[in-house]
Symmetry: C2
Subunit: 197 residues, 2 copies
DNA sequence: TGTTTTCTTGATTGACGAGTCAATAAAAAC
DNA sequence: GTTTTTATTGACTCGTCAATCAAGAAAACA
Protein backbone atom coordinates (compact mmCIF):
# COMPACT_ATOMS: atom_id res chain seq x y z
CA UNK A 1 0.00 0.00 0.00
CA UNK A 2 2.79 2.44 -0.62
CA UNK A 3 1.14 5.73 -1.29
CA UNK A 4 3.72 8.13 -2.65
CA UNK A 5 4.91 11.15 -0.74
CA UNK A 6 4.96 9.32 2.54
CA UNK A 7 8.36 10.64 3.50
CA UNK A 8 7.38 14.02 4.95
CA UNK A 9 4.45 12.45 6.76
CA UNK A 10 6.59 9.76 8.33
CA UNK A 11 9.31 12.22 9.21
CA UNK A 12 6.82 14.45 10.98
CA UNK A 13 5.26 11.53 12.81
CA UNK A 14 8.65 10.26 13.90
CA UNK A 15 9.72 13.67 15.12
CA UNK A 16 6.54 14.07 17.08
CA UNK A 17 6.95 10.60 18.53
CA UNK A 18 10.55 11.35 19.44
CA UNK A 19 9.58 14.38 21.49
CA UNK A 20 6.82 12.43 23.18
CA UNK A 21 9.15 9.58 24.04
CA UNK A 22 11.83 11.88 25.41
CA UNK A 23 9.13 13.43 27.55
CA UNK A 24 8.03 10.04 28.78
CA UNK A 25 11.53 8.81 29.54
CA UNK A 26 12.84 12.17 30.72
CA UNK A 27 16.09 11.37 28.97
CA UNK A 28 17.62 10.35 25.68
CA UNK A 29 17.55 6.75 26.84
CA UNK A 30 14.91 6.07 24.28
CA UNK A 31 15.18 3.30 21.75
CA UNK A 32 14.53 3.76 18.09
CA UNK A 33 11.98 0.98 18.41
CA UNK A 34 10.02 2.91 21.00
CA UNK A 35 9.96 5.98 18.83
CA UNK A 36 8.99 3.99 15.78
CA UNK A 37 6.26 2.11 17.62
CA UNK A 38 4.70 5.34 18.81
CA UNK A 39 4.84 6.69 15.29
CA UNK A 40 3.18 3.53 14.04
CA UNK A 41 6.04 2.28 11.90
CA UNK A 42 8.91 -0.15 12.17
CA UNK A 43 12.28 0.80 13.57
CA UNK A 44 13.80 -0.04 10.21
CA UNK A 45 11.79 2.72 8.61
CA UNK A 46 13.04 5.23 11.11
CA UNK A 47 16.58 4.29 10.21
CA UNK A 48 15.66 4.40 6.56
CA UNK A 49 14.59 8.03 6.72
CA UNK A 50 16.93 9.41 9.35
CA UNK A 51 19.98 7.22 9.28
CA UNK A 52 21.47 7.18 12.76
CA UNK A 53 19.61 7.74 15.96
CA UNK A 54 21.33 11.03 16.66
CA UNK A 55 19.88 12.42 13.47
CA UNK A 56 16.41 11.71 14.77
CA UNK A 57 17.13 13.64 17.94
CA UNK A 58 18.62 16.50 15.99
CA UNK A 59 15.63 16.64 13.67
CA UNK A 60 13.35 16.76 16.70
CA UNK A 61 15.32 19.60 18.19
CA UNK A 62 15.43 21.44 14.87
CA UNK A 63 11.67 21.18 14.79
CA UNK A 64 11.32 22.59 18.29
CA UNK A 65 13.59 25.47 17.37
CA UNK A 66 11.63 26.12 14.21
CA UNK A 67 8.37 26.26 16.11
CA UNK A 68 9.96 28.58 18.63
CA UNK A 69 11.29 30.83 15.90
CA UNK A 70 7.89 31.06 14.33
CA UNK A 71 6.37 31.91 17.67
CA UNK A 72 8.87 34.70 18.17
CA UNK A 73 7.99 36.17 14.80
CA UNK A 74 4.29 35.96 15.58
CA UNK A 75 4.70 37.73 18.89
CA UNK A 76 6.95 40.36 17.36
CA UNK A 77 4.36 41.17 14.75
CA UNK A 78 2.06 42.57 17.42
CA UNK A 79 4.74 44.45 19.27
CA UNK A 80 5.26 48.20 19.13
CA UNK A 81 8.40 49.78 20.45
CA UNK A 82 11.63 48.33 21.75
CA UNK A 83 10.44 47.30 25.16
CA UNK A 84 7.37 45.68 23.77
CA UNK A 85 9.52 43.71 21.35
CA UNK A 86 11.72 42.42 24.13
CA UNK A 87 8.69 41.37 26.09
CA UNK A 88 7.40 39.62 23.01
CA UNK A 89 10.55 37.51 22.88
CA UNK A 90 10.19 36.66 26.54
CA UNK A 91 6.58 35.69 26.05
CA UNK A 92 7.47 33.51 23.09
CA UNK A 93 10.11 31.73 25.14
CA UNK A 94 7.43 30.56 27.49
CA UNK A 95 4.84 29.91 24.84
CA UNK A 96 2.48 27.10 25.75
CA UNK A 97 3.88 24.92 23.00
CA UNK A 98 7.44 25.26 24.27
CA UNK A 99 6.29 24.88 27.81
CA UNK A 100 4.98 21.35 27.43
CA UNK A 101 6.81 18.97 29.77
CA UNK A 102 8.00 16.85 26.87
CA UNK A 103 9.49 19.87 25.13
CA UNK A 104 11.19 21.02 28.30
CA UNK A 105 12.65 17.56 28.75
CA UNK A 106 13.90 17.70 25.18
CA UNK A 107 15.56 21.05 25.80
CA UNK A 108 17.24 19.80 28.90
CA UNK A 109 18.65 16.80 27.10
CA UNK A 110 19.59 18.97 24.19
CA UNK A 111 21.89 20.87 26.48
CA UNK A 112 23.49 17.63 27.52
CA UNK A 113 23.82 16.45 23.96
CA UNK A 114 25.41 19.72 22.94
CA UNK A 115 28.40 18.82 25.07
CA UNK A 116 29.17 15.80 22.94
CA UNK A 117 27.61 16.24 19.54
CA UNK A 118 29.13 18.75 17.17
CA UNK A 119 25.82 19.13 15.37
CA UNK A 120 23.83 19.70 18.52
CA UNK A 121 26.38 22.21 19.70
CA UNK A 122 26.18 24.14 16.47
CA UNK A 123 22.40 24.13 16.55
CA UNK A 124 22.31 25.42 20.09
CA UNK A 125 24.80 28.13 19.23
CA UNK A 126 22.57 29.34 16.44
CA UNK A 127 19.65 29.62 18.79
CA UNK A 128 21.62 31.42 21.49
CA UNK A 129 23.19 33.77 19.05
CA UNK A 130 19.90 34.72 17.47
CA UNK A 131 18.25 35.26 20.83
CA UNK A 132 21.13 37.38 22.00
CA UNK A 133 21.17 39.43 18.83
CA UNK A 134 17.42 39.96 18.93
CA UNK A 135 17.53 41.13 22.51
CA UNK A 136 20.58 43.32 22.06
CA UNK A 137 19.08 45.02 19.06
CA UNK A 138 16.14 46.29 21.04
CA UNK A 139 18.04 46.84 24.24
CA UNK A 140 20.62 49.16 22.73
CA UNK A 141 18.27 52.13 22.44
CA UNK A 142 17.03 51.49 25.96
CA UNK A 143 20.15 50.80 27.99
CA UNK A 144 22.95 51.74 25.64
CA UNK A 145 26.28 50.11 26.34
CA UNK A 146 24.79 47.73 28.86
CA UNK A 147 22.75 46.04 26.15
CA UNK A 148 24.94 42.94 25.88
CA UNK A 149 25.13 42.57 29.58
CA UNK A 150 21.40 42.80 30.05
CA UNK A 151 20.79 40.47 27.13
CA UNK A 152 22.98 37.86 28.79
CA UNK A 153 21.08 38.33 32.00
CA UNK A 154 17.73 37.86 30.33
CA UNK A 155 18.99 34.87 28.38
CA UNK A 156 20.35 33.18 31.47
CA UNK A 157 17.22 33.96 33.42
CA UNK A 158 15.03 32.48 30.71
CA UNK A 159 17.12 29.35 30.64
CA UNK A 160 17.15 29.07 34.40
CA UNK A 161 13.43 29.57 34.85
CA UNK A 162 12.72 27.27 31.96
CA UNK A 163 14.86 24.43 33.20
CA UNK A 164 13.56 24.66 36.72
CA UNK A 165 10.15 23.89 35.37
CA UNK A 166 11.38 20.44 34.53
CA UNK A 167 11.25 19.57 38.19
CA UNK A 168 8.06 21.15 39.35
CA UNK A 169 5.32 18.59 39.67
CA UNK A 170 2.66 21.20 40.10
CA UNK A 171 0.97 22.20 36.85
CA UNK A 172 3.35 24.59 35.16
CA UNK A 173 2.61 28.28 35.40
CA UNK A 174 3.56 30.17 32.30
CA UNK A 175 2.44 33.51 33.64
CA UNK A 176 4.67 33.29 36.69
CA UNK A 177 7.67 32.53 34.54
CA UNK A 178 6.93 35.37 32.17
CA UNK A 179 6.34 37.80 35.01
CA UNK A 180 9.64 36.92 36.63
CA UNK A 181 11.70 37.67 33.56
CA UNK A 182 9.64 40.71 32.73
CA UNK A 183 10.21 42.15 36.17
CA UNK A 184 13.90 41.74 35.67
CA UNK A 185 13.66 43.67 32.45
CA UNK A 186 11.64 46.37 34.17
CA UNK A 187 14.30 46.73 36.83
CA UNK A 188 17.03 47.13 34.27
CA UNK A 189 15.06 49.71 32.37
CA UNK A 190 14.21 51.75 35.44
CA UNK A 191 17.87 51.92 36.27
CA UNK A 192 19.00 53.28 32.95
CA UNK A 193 16.15 55.14 31.30
CA UNK A 194 17.88 56.27 28.16
CA UNK A 195 14.79 56.61 26.08
CA UNK A 196 11.11 55.96 26.28
CA UNK A 197 9.61 53.26 24.16
CA UNK B 1 47.14 -7.50 49.93
CA UNK B 2 43.88 -6.57 51.54
CA UNK B 3 44.67 -3.76 53.88
CA UNK B 4 41.68 -3.10 56.09
CA UNK B 5 39.63 0.06 55.89
CA UNK B 6 39.81 0.22 52.12
CA UNK B 7 36.12 0.94 51.71
CA UNK B 8 36.14 4.71 52.30
CA UNK B 9 39.24 5.08 50.16
CA UNK B 10 37.74 3.13 47.28
CA UNK B 11 34.44 4.93 47.55
CA UNK B 12 36.16 8.29 47.39
CA UNK B 13 38.30 7.23 44.44
CA UNK B 14 35.27 5.89 42.59
CA UNK B 15 33.29 9.05 43.22
CA UNK B 16 36.12 11.19 41.98
CA UNK B 17 36.50 8.99 38.94
CA UNK B 18 32.77 9.16 38.28
CA UNK B 19 32.79 12.94 38.16
CA UNK B 20 35.83 12.91 35.91
CA UNK B 21 34.25 10.41 33.54
CA UNK B 22 31.01 12.33 33.35
CA UNK B 23 33.05 15.38 32.52
CA UNK B 24 34.90 13.54 29.81
CA UNK B 25 31.80 12.03 28.28
CA UNK B 26 29.58 15.05 28.89
CA UNK B 27 26.77 12.67 29.74
CA UNK B 28 25.79 9.76 31.89
CA UNK B 29 26.69 7.41 29.07
CA UNK B 30 29.58 6.21 31.10
CA UNK B 31 30.20 2.57 31.84
CA UNK B 32 30.98 1.21 35.24
CA UNK B 33 34.13 -0.25 33.74
CA UNK B 34 35.34 3.17 32.64
CA UNK B 35 34.77 4.59 36.09
CA UNK B 36 36.43 1.64 37.75
CA UNK B 37 39.40 1.72 35.43
CA UNK B 38 40.01 5.39 36.18
CA UNK B 39 39.77 4.64 39.87
CA UNK B 40 42.26 1.83 39.44
CA UNK B 41 39.97 -1.01 40.42
CA UNK B 42 37.80 -3.60 38.72
CA UNK B 43 34.21 -2.96 37.76
CA UNK B 44 33.19 -5.75 40.09
CA UNK B 45 34.54 -3.79 43.03
CA UNK B 46 32.52 -0.77 42.08
CA UNK B 47 29.42 -2.91 42.12
CA UNK B 48 30.55 -4.47 45.36
CA UNK B 49 30.61 -1.14 47.16
CA UNK B 50 27.83 0.75 45.45
CA UNK B 51 25.45 -1.88 44.18
CA UNK B 52 23.78 -0.52 41.08
CA UNK B 53 25.20 2.05 38.73
CA UNK B 54 22.65 4.67 39.69
CA UNK B 55 23.92 4.57 43.24
CA UNK B 56 27.36 5.54 42.01
CA UNK B 57 25.95 8.57 40.24
CA UNK B 58 23.92 9.53 43.27
CA UNK B 59 26.92 9.22 45.53
CA UNK B 60 28.88 11.46 43.18
CA UNK B 61 26.14 14.04 43.24
CA UNK B 62 25.80 13.82 46.99
CA UNK B 63 29.49 14.51 47.21
CA UNK B 64 29.23 17.54 44.98
CA UNK B 65 26.37 18.88 47.06
CA UNK B 66 28.30 18.28 50.26
CA UNK B 67 31.28 20.19 48.95
CA UNK B 68 29.00 22.97 47.87
CA UNK B 69 27.31 23.09 51.25
CA UNK B 70 30.64 23.33 52.98
CA UNK B 71 31.67 26.11 50.66
CA UNK B 72 28.52 28.03 51.48
CA UNK B 73 29.22 27.74 55.18
CA UNK B 74 32.78 28.89 54.68
CA UNK B 75 31.72 31.95 52.73
CA UNK B 76 28.99 32.75 55.22
CA UNK B 77 31.46 32.72 58.05
CA UNK B 78 33.14 35.80 56.65
CA UNK B 79 29.94 37.64 55.84
CA UNK B 80 28.55 40.53 57.83
CA UNK B 81 25.00 41.70 57.29
CA UNK B 82 22.16 40.37 55.17
CA UNK B 83 23.34 41.58 51.84
CA UNK B 84 26.81 40.31 52.43
CA UNK B 85 25.39 36.91 53.33
CA UNK B 86 23.41 36.72 50.13
CA UNK B 87 26.47 37.63 48.14
CA UNK B 88 28.36 34.93 49.98
CA UNK B 89 25.86 32.35 48.78
CA UNK B 90 26.18 33.63 45.24
CA UNK B 91 29.94 33.48 45.42
CA UNK B 92 29.84 29.95 46.79
CA UNK B 93 27.60 28.88 43.91
CA UNK B 94 30.33 29.81 41.50
CA UNK B 95 33.17 28.59 43.60
CA UNK B 96 36.11 27.35 41.57
CA UNK B 97 35.50 23.79 42.70
CA UNK B 98 31.88 23.82 41.53
CA UNK B 99 32.85 25.63 38.39
CA UNK B 100 35.04 22.87 37.01
CA UNK B 101 33.73 21.66 33.65
CA UNK B 102 33.31 18.13 34.94
CA UNK B 103 31.22 19.33 37.87
CA UNK B 104 29.07 21.48 35.61
CA UNK B 105 28.52 18.49 33.36
CA UNK B 106 27.52 16.45 36.37
CA UNK B 107 25.03 19.09 37.45
CA UNK B 108 23.50 19.23 34.02
CA UNK B 109 23.05 15.49 33.92
CA UNK B 110 21.79 15.53 37.46
CA UNK B 111 18.92 17.69 36.30
CA UNK B 112 18.14 15.16 33.63
CA UNK B 113 18.38 12.27 36.04
CA UNK B 114 16.08 14.02 38.48
CA UNK B 115 13.28 13.62 35.98
CA UNK B 116 13.45 9.85 36.19
CA UNK B 117 15.06 8.87 39.44
CA UNK B 118 13.13 9.33 42.64
CA UNK B 119 16.35 9.55 44.62
CA UNK B 120 17.92 12.14 42.37
CA UNK B 121 14.73 14.16 42.48
CA UNK B 122 14.66 14.12 46.24
CA UNK B 123 18.29 15.12 46.44
CA UNK B 124 17.82 18.02 44.07
CA UNK B 125 14.78 19.17 46.02
CA UNK B 126 16.80 19.29 49.19
CA UNK B 127 19.39 21.48 47.54
CA UNK B 128 16.86 23.83 46.00
CA UNK B 129 14.89 24.11 49.19
CA UNK B 130 17.94 24.91 51.27
CA UNK B 131 19.16 27.50 48.79
CA UNK B 132 15.76 29.10 48.68
CA UNK B 133 15.42 29.15 52.43
CA UNK B 134 18.89 30.59 52.89
CA UNK B 135 18.24 33.35 50.41
CA UNK B 136 14.78 34.14 51.69
CA UNK B 137 16.00 34.38 55.24
CA UNK B 138 18.37 37.18 54.44
CA UNK B 139 16.18 38.80 51.84
CA UNK B 140 13.21 39.28 54.12
CA UNK B 141 14.75 42.16 56.07
CA UNK B 142 15.85 43.75 52.81
CA UNK B 143 12.88 43.46 50.49
CA UNK B 144 10.09 42.28 52.80
CA UNK B 145 7.27 40.49 51.08
CA UNK B 146 9.14 40.20 47.84
CA UNK B 147 11.71 37.94 49.44
CA UNK B 148 10.40 34.69 47.94
CA UNK B 149 10.05 36.25 44.56
CA UNK B 150 13.57 37.63 44.55
CA UNK B 151 14.94 34.36 45.91
CA UNK B 152 13.38 32.52 42.99
CA UNK B 153 14.88 35.02 40.62
CA UNK B 154 18.34 34.64 42.05
CA UNK B 155 18.01 30.87 42.10
CA UNK B 156 16.91 30.72 38.50
CA UNK B 157 19.61 33.15 37.45
CA UNK B 158 22.29 31.11 39.17
CA UNK B 159 21.07 27.96 37.47
CA UNK B 160 20.85 29.68 34.10
CA UNK B 161 24.27 31.26 34.23
CA UNK B 162 25.74 28.06 35.59
CA UNK B 163 24.32 25.85 32.91
CA UNK B 164 25.26 28.18 30.12
CA UNK B 165 28.85 27.72 31.13
CA UNK B 166 28.62 24.14 29.98
CA UNK B 167 28.70 25.34 26.41
CA UNK B 168 31.30 28.04 26.46
CA UNK B 169 34.55 26.79 25.06
CA UNK B 170 36.46 29.79 26.25
CA UNK B 171 38.00 29.39 29.67
CA UNK B 172 35.23 29.88 32.17
CA UNK B 173 34.97 33.24 33.90
CA UNK B 174 33.80 32.95 37.45
CA UNK B 175 33.95 36.64 38.11
CA UNK B 176 31.64 37.48 35.23
CA UNK B 177 29.08 34.99 36.46
CA UNK B 178 29.25 36.28 40.00
CA UNK B 179 29.00 39.89 38.84
CA UNK B 180 25.93 39.16 36.76
CA UNK B 181 23.96 37.67 39.64
CA UNK B 182 25.25 40.26 42.05
CA UNK B 183 24.08 43.07 39.80
CA UNK B 184 20.67 41.52 39.75
CA UNK B 185 20.63 41.51 43.52
CA UNK B 186 21.76 45.13 43.56
CA UNK B 187 18.92 46.12 41.28
CA UNK B 188 16.36 44.43 43.47
CA UNK B 189 17.75 46.09 46.57
CA UNK B 190 17.84 49.54 45.04
CA UNK B 191 14.20 49.21 44.16
CA UNK B 192 12.98 48.33 47.61
CA UNK B 193 15.36 49.72 50.17
CA UNK B 194 13.61 48.60 53.30
CA UNK B 195 16.66 48.60 55.48
CA UNK B 196 20.36 49.10 55.24
CA UNK B 197 22.65 46.15 55.78
C1' DT C 1 47.41 -23.23 63.35
C1' DG C 2 43.04 -22.88 61.59
C1' DT C 3 39.16 -20.01 60.75
C1' DT C 4 36.79 -16.00 59.64
C1' DT C 5 36.54 -11.53 57.64
C1' DT C 6 37.81 -8.07 54.18
C1' DC C 7 39.21 -7.06 49.70
C1' DT C 8 39.59 -8.05 45.05
C1' DT C 9 39.00 -9.68 40.36
C1' DG C 10 38.38 -12.68 35.95
C1' DA C 11 35.02 -14.82 33.78
C1' DT C 12 30.40 -15.32 32.64
C1' DT C 13 25.58 -14.49 31.85
C1' DG C 14 21.76 -12.44 30.06
C1' DA C 15 19.55 -8.74 28.07
C1' DC C 16 19.05 -5.23 25.13
C1' DG C 17 19.54 -2.28 21.22
C1' DA C 18 21.59 0.13 16.91
C1' DG C 19 22.01 -0.55 12.41
C1' DT C 20 21.80 -3.65 8.11
C1' DC C 21 19.72 -6.39 4.55
C1' DA C 22 17.08 -9.01 1.74
C1' DA C 23 12.52 -9.49 0.54
C1' DT C 24 7.64 -7.98 -0.30
C1' DA C 25 4.20 -5.00 -2.07
C1' DA C 26 2.18 -1.50 -4.58
C1' DA C 27 2.18 2.34 -7.32
C1' DA C 28 4.17 4.80 -11.33
C1' DA C 29 6.58 4.99 -15.54
C1' DC C 30 7.60 3.25 -19.89
C1' DG D 1 2.87 -5.76 -19.19
C1' DT D 2 7.26 -5.16 -17.75
C1' DT D 3 10.36 -2.38 -15.22
C1' DT D 4 11.58 0.97 -12.02
C1' DT D 5 10.80 3.56 -7.95
C1' DT D 6 9.03 4.25 -3.25
C1' DA D 7 7.51 2.32 1.00
C1' DT D 8 7.90 -0.97 4.41
C1' DT D 9 9.23 -4.62 7.50
C1' DG D 10 10.94 -9.12 9.86
C1' DA D 11 14.85 -11.21 10.85
C1' DC D 12 19.50 -11.05 11.84
C1' DT D 13 24.23 -9.45 13.26
C1' DC D 14 27.30 -7.61 16.21
C1' DG D 15 28.47 -5.04 20.22
C1' DT D 16 28.08 -3.52 24.52
C1' DC D 17 27.31 -3.51 29.25
C1' DA D 18 25.16 -4.12 33.97
C1' DA D 19 25.20 -7.31 37.33
C1' DT D 20 26.59 -11.82 39.43
C1' DC D 21 29.51 -15.37 41.17
C1' DA D 22 32.93 -18.23 42.53
C1' DA D 23 37.36 -18.11 43.84
C1' DG D 24 41.87 -16.36 45.52
C1' DA D 25 44.76 -13.76 48.68
C1' DA D 26 45.96 -11.53 52.70
C1' DA D 27 45.11 -9.75 57.05
C1' DA D 28 42.75 -10.40 61.73
C1' DC D 29 41.18 -13.35 65.06
C1' DA D 30 40.66 -17.40 68.08
Amino acid sequence: MPKLGMEPIRRAALIKATIAEIGRAGSLDVTVSQIARRAGVSSALAHHYFGAKEQIFLAAMRHILTVFGAQVRTELRGARGHRSRIEAIITASFDAENFRPAVIAAWLNFYVQAQTSKDARRLLRVYQKRLRSNLTHDLRPLVGGRAERVADGIGALIDGVYIRQALKDAPLRRDGAIALVRDYLALELETTPLATA
